[in-house]
Subunit: 185 residues, 3 copies
């Protein structure tokens, strides 16, 4: 959060949802959520307000939180961390697909592709993304290093996506991320 | 259409479906449909007959037209342009998935990959493809330049796909597109 | 099978399922199944027992066999060959998706990507993978050459995937396949 206009409610609200049984029980420090916060703070030019939560790997709780972030909190972007692998408790993609109206398969393809440059186990990730009303939901991995790699890959397309779904106009610091908007939509 | 044999009904029928609210109301010139027509005319060796329509971004109308092009008009290939983005009115992939029997995820992956060489917002495209009976349906973007990039990427596999689903034997002018057929199916 | 410990039942059971109308009627020699067997025998360090079958391209039979291999035979890995194309009789991906609990889209993306280096018709493959309980199911192509190309691409991630779903600990001969396990899950 980089809110210099005291007293004004920023128009841009972004949800950061950490999904981890251990982090939600306090057995484990949440590293993913803060890593996403710092990344977005460095990259987004406008003031924005964070809406954050740490929840266990329970599909119903994840769905409920995602829905609340989109419909009640008015987020234009919700980024999740954790729960995208093949293990029985990993249910983030299922919860995401259940609440989105449109799945955007290009995000998952792109993020797996990028992570494959570092680890061959990137094919195990089931990360996805999609839209719910005026909100874009993106699943990220759990580890800060992998989070930054994935965000570097997809962030150039995020502001235009938010334009297309009727959200606020976001700009990025070009030294970090060059956001792209085609001339004619 | 390149029909030199007057009086003969060409065996190869190809549907070109423009999906755009504005083009269907006449507020906007349809550039996508003619771009696809010209591309196929340049590339396909055999005579073929075009079955064309311009429809609004309404899922029921798109589904009905795709179904008619496959089942009634006897097309072996239907190519759509427009309506594949994340905006609320973009429903071409949903309509396509509703009418196809088999989704072919490799087409969308390939087309996004190719478009990514030009614009980072290519990950926002939800383009897909699939088969309905003896017909292959492929979603293309709206802009002529992106249409040509995508067709260049997927056309080499189209004639063999049409063979496999029991359609007519297509050949391509090799200076433009090198169609590939494996030795043993 | 490489079972030197006579009298001991190996812990690692792997299913190899050939899906082909012609091979199941004996009109055609099954080349895919033996190619997978030889590949795994060369690559996996531990003793393992093969559970094999050759079935026709019938969705119900494929689903039943996959389910039996996972739930009754106790396989930690089931590899199929054949039936992944766009033809009407190709139903392996449908059967696989019907029996898995989690689809792992990265496997199909990766295998199509690798096969694209050899043939442009690789985009026609609908190969997928997923998990059912403690078992990973992977669809492979029909031809021995393409089988080896796909296994080379995905095998580095297979042992860790089996760890994550609670299966036995597999290791690979590093001259053939370098299996990768991240430091912290």
């Amino acid at each position: 959060m980089n809110n210099e206009n005291e007293g004004l409610i920023p128009l841009i609200r972004i949800g950061i949802l950490t999904i981890s049984d251990r982090a939600s029980r306090g057995e484990y420090e949440d590293l993913g959520g803060p890593a996403i916060h710092d990344y977005l703070n460095r990259v987004i030019v406008e003031d924005w307000a964070e809406v954050a939560a740490v929840v266990p790997d329970e599909r119903a709780v994840i769905e409920e939180t995602l829905t609340k972030f989109c419909d009640v909190e008015g987020c234009c972007l919700v980024v999740t961390t954790g729960g995208t692998g093949p293990a029985a408790r990993d249910v983030t993609p299922e919860a995401t697909e259940a609440v989105v109206e449109k799945v955007l398969p290009g995000f998952g393809e792109m993020m797996r592709q990028v992570s494959l440059q570092y680890v061959p186990t990137a094919i195990l990730s089931r990360q996805t993304a999609g839209t719910r009303g005026h909100c874009l939901i993106i699943n990220l991995p759990g580890k800060p290093k992998a989070i930054a790699e994935c965000l570097d890959a997809v962030m150039p397309a995020v502001p235009y996506c938010i334009d297309l779904i009727g959200g606020p106009y976001l700009t990025t610091h070009e030294t970090f991320v060059k956001a792209f908007r085609p001339k004619s939509g």
